[in-house]
Structure formats: C-alpha cells, structure tokens
Amino acid sequence: MSWETFLWTTASVALTLFTFSFLYRDNPFYKFSESLFVGISAGYFVIILWYTGLVPTLFDRIWVGQPWWQIWGGKWWYLIPGILGLMMWFRFSKKKSWISRYPIAFYLGIATGAAIPLEMQNRVNRQLADTLVAPNFSAGWVAGISDVIIILGVVCGLFYFFFSVAHKGTFGGVAKAGIYILMIGFGASFGYTVMGRISLFIERVQSIRDWVEMGFEGGGGMTAVVWISVLIVLLLIMMEIMRHMRNKATEEAA
C-alpha cells in the first residue's frame, strides 16, 4: 500500500473525527472541517455549473464550433436566456438592480405555471386513481381490510387538512383520527430512515477501523502515524476534561 493512499485515508478519517467532534460542542476542528467542506463544495458547484450548465446548454448551442462572433450558424435564440442570465448581474448596481427583477419574474412565472398541472397530475389525479380500488378480500382478509383502512385513512387525513371548519364535534373527531393515522405513518417513516442513518454511521466507523488496520499492516512510519493520531486525540480529550474542571471550579468559587 502506498503512502499516498494512506495519507489520503488519514485525511478522510481526520475530517470524519473533526465533524463528529461537533456532537460534543462547537470547536476549532469542526470549524476547520466545516469551512473546508463549504468552500470546496461552493467552488465545485461553480465548475459543475459551468461545464454541465452554461457550456453544453448555452455556449455549445449558440456557437456550434464557430468563432465567438458568428452566432447565425447556431441556435441564436438561446441568446435570450443568456441575456436574462446577464440581467441578474445588475443586482450589484444599486441604481439598476430593478433590472434583475425581470429574469426573476420570468423564472417564477414559468416555474409556477409548469408546476400547477404537474402537481395536480401527480398529487391529486394519480393518487386518487390509485386509491380508488375495490377491497381485495380475494387475496385474504388482511389485504381486504388494508384496502379499507387506506381509503378511511385518506378521507380522515383530508378532513384534518380542511382549514375552513373548526375541528370540533364529529368533524373534529374524524380530523383527530386523520392526525393519528398521519402520526402512525410518520413513525414508520422515522424508524425506516433512522435505520438508514445508522447504516451510514456504521460505514464511517468501519472506515476508521480500516484505516487503523491499514496503518498497522503498513508497519514502520504508517503505524507511527496511527499511534501519534491516537495520542493527539487522547491529549485533546484530557485537555478538554481539564478545561471543563477548571471552569467548574471557577463557577463554584464565584
């Protein structure tokens, strides 16, 4: 195993531990990993946007392998969104910043207009069509009862999201049943997702274990790096305990 691989793995483990240190409290190590992550991702985003957004969907379409001053061979109409994009730069001018509102209005108008039929189709029509099924008792009474519970759950849930009527009396009872059904669903979803998060945590812990094994198998300098890292972590923990005890003593004295 090369030193290069080992050092990169060491950096990965160090950053993992720096991030986990947040579980205790905010500290310079967490700040370092946070700033590194935010900075790198922001820079990465700019490059990704350039190479997967602007170049293929704007420049390559306007200038199809031609000099930059020749736009008539390409799809010149792509200049319109390009100009709209440039108008956003007027935000940096105090007097002309109003110009940037036009592309925003354009974007919001199109986005909202496109969203309405899509939302109606996916969240109303399709869900309704899939909900309206006959109870399938032929597949067993559990399946049949499940179908009945689904339709009852949908109706009760809709009652809960009815805002024009106060939740009192019979209406309130049905709405309450609706929120109970929602909470059962949320509970199931919560448990399912938590299991996923635990898997992620296990994966991180395994990567630390692999790094330790890698260090010991590498021998010599690599083993020394592992031991030095462990000593640094222990030293930091001891310093933190001492600082905590000092603060406590100061508080008691005060």
């Binding site: 990465y44 969203a115 309206l132 669903g185 949320f186």
Partner: protein
Amino acid sequence: MKIKIIALMAMLLLLASVGWGQEEAAIDSTVQEVIPPGPPLNLKAFDKPYDNGHAIDLTWDLSVDDGAGRNNIIEYRLMRADSPEGPFVERKKLEMGKTEAEDKGVKEPDDPNYFPREHDFYYKVVAVTADAEAESEVVGPVRGIGQWYNAGKNPVAVAVVLFTVFTIYFIFKAKKGAELYIRPLAGIDAVDEAIGRATEMGKPILYVLGLGTAADIATIASFTILSRVAQKVAEYQTSLIVPCYDPIVMTIAQETVKASYYSAGRPDAYNQDSVFFVTNQQFAYVGGVNGIMLRDRPATNFYLGKFYAESLIMAETGAVAGSIQIAGTDEVTQIPFFVVACDYTLIGEELYAASAYLGREPVLLGTLKAQDYAKALVIICCIIGFIAASFGWTWFVEQFHVGN
C-alpha cells in the same frame, strides 16, 4: 503365435469399429435439425397517441413457443428499418411473454437515439431461442406524428379548470370583503411569539428556506412567510439571518426581505448581507447552517420549505442551541424529524395555509378556500369511487386515470 495375431487383429477391429461408431454419432449430432420457434404473429405498429411524434407503439401476439409449445423463447427483439428490405437495426430487447413495446427516441438530431418525426419506418419482431430465431412479418410504413393536445391528460385539465373556478370565485369573494374563516394553527400562532422572543433576548432569527428551488411550491409558500417574518423583524428591530442553498432562491429572498423592510418603513435597517448564499451541496450547506446556529445562537429558527435528509441534523442542532423552532415542509418523509425535534411543525399543506393565514391577502385567502373546496370534492369522489369500485362499476374510477 497365430492365436496372438488373431486376438490382436480382433482388438484392432473392435477399436476401429468403436471409433467409427463415435464418428458416426458425431456426424449425427452436427446434422441434428434446429427447429425454429414460432414467429410472433399479428404485429401491428401505430403512432403513439398524444405525444410529440417521436415514438411508435407496437403490439403482437406471442409466439406459439412462448409459454406453450416447446416453451423455449428467451426474448424478443424489436427491429426497425427505413425500408421493408432493411437493413433492420435492433431497437430494443424484450422479455419473453411481452406483447407490446414502445419505440421511443428523442427530438435532437445530434443525439444517437434520434427519432425523426413524420418519417416512414418498418418494423419486425424477432422471437429468439437459445439456438434459433423466427421473424414476424414486416409491418409499415408507420410514422410518428406529434399532437397538439394530449387527451390522455383530460382528467388533469378538468381538475385544474375546476380548481381555477373555485379560486377565482373565492378571490372575488375575499376582495368584496367577505369574512373567510380559517381555523387557527398552533404553528402559525407561534410565529409572532417566536419573533417577540428573539426581540426580548436580543438575538437573531434564523430563517432556512430549505433545499428547494424557486420553482417548488413549498419554497414559494416559504417566501410569503419570510415576507411576514421580515416585516415583523423590521418593526421590532431584530436581526435576521437567511442562509440560502440556491442562488436564485437567494436573489428572490433578498428581494422579499427588502420589500418587507420597505413596507415596515425601515429601509435603512435592511442589510442585503443578511440573506446570503452558502453552497449548493446538501451536507456542506447543513454544516454551514449548523455552524451559524452554534456561533450566533439564534433565538428562533424557522425551517420552512423543501427539506431532505438534512432536516433532522439542522433541527437537532437548533434544539441543542436552545432555539425555539418552527418547521414546515411538504416533504412527507422529513415531517417526522421536524415533529420530534421542533416546537411547532406545519405538516404538509399547513405550510401553504400558513402563508395565506399570515398574509391575509384576498388572493391567498381565496386560494386557500378553493383548496378546501377542492378537498371536499376529493373526499366525495373518494367515497363514491370506493363504493363504485367495490361493486365493480369501473367507469367512475377510470375518469381519474391520467395517460402518459
């Protein structure tokens, strides 16, 4: 000696006869007849209805050896050509048992999967076994033609028109001054209380718009609530922090906050840097927002918009930092995390209701009322549809099915 020679010759003869027999068997195996499977029958190709003209639908009857007969069909291959003579190009492989396929391409001529509109094509389907193939008859010409109107989406059109009618009616009603009742929501009532708390504590308010784009309905609803929060913040002279994930969302949030400060009569107090871009990477964004929570210790955190896996990380950090937290999202999988970690949670559509409730504008109130009436209609349809489906009256249920 003689006997030995005879025995040797007999052995040689025996060996020769065995070898010859094997050779004969080998010849037999090479000339074993390969029986082709039955070809797919009744192949039909037609323009895909209600599309942009870049697809053809095909149907056929199964080969007699698919699921019956010798039952040795492995797959079908869909072949296409520009003329009945070919050359045919394979477009798709299909599992055994399939009797329909869609040959769909894209409209960009420079794309390898380009499918020209109004161009004559010829098709055949090949039934494939382990050692043989059988072709259907060639059908064509058939051409993809684009349609202006997708009748498969009629149910959506009807729903949108109905909802629009409701909306317009209630907006006019609200504009005329009719009192439109909206039941109180705990999460909404807590908004003013949370802003007041931040003012008393002299600490900032953190407003997170989530990971959605400006096109997401949840983000749009969040802008309305941000407007109201920013107005109150301007009135109370508290500070506001709005870290953004999306540059466009940031720009709109800046405009929204600025407008609120102007309407509160405090344009001088507006600080454009209070609404800023962090990064467009999910967990880096979470890291940045968590850092803000622990360093600036905001008195109140709002998480309103579209959230994904970061919801619990942020809400948990906010709880550790001791902030009052109000959350709302229409992302069903994330609501449980907000429910457990926040003081108030707006569940799903309550987020949209909150924007109307806080805004109190006729347009928003009318829209909310229209939503309620649409929901009432859906409840009625659910009940009728369930009864109809139970009795096998499928006509009613089919009216809600949306085509592609």
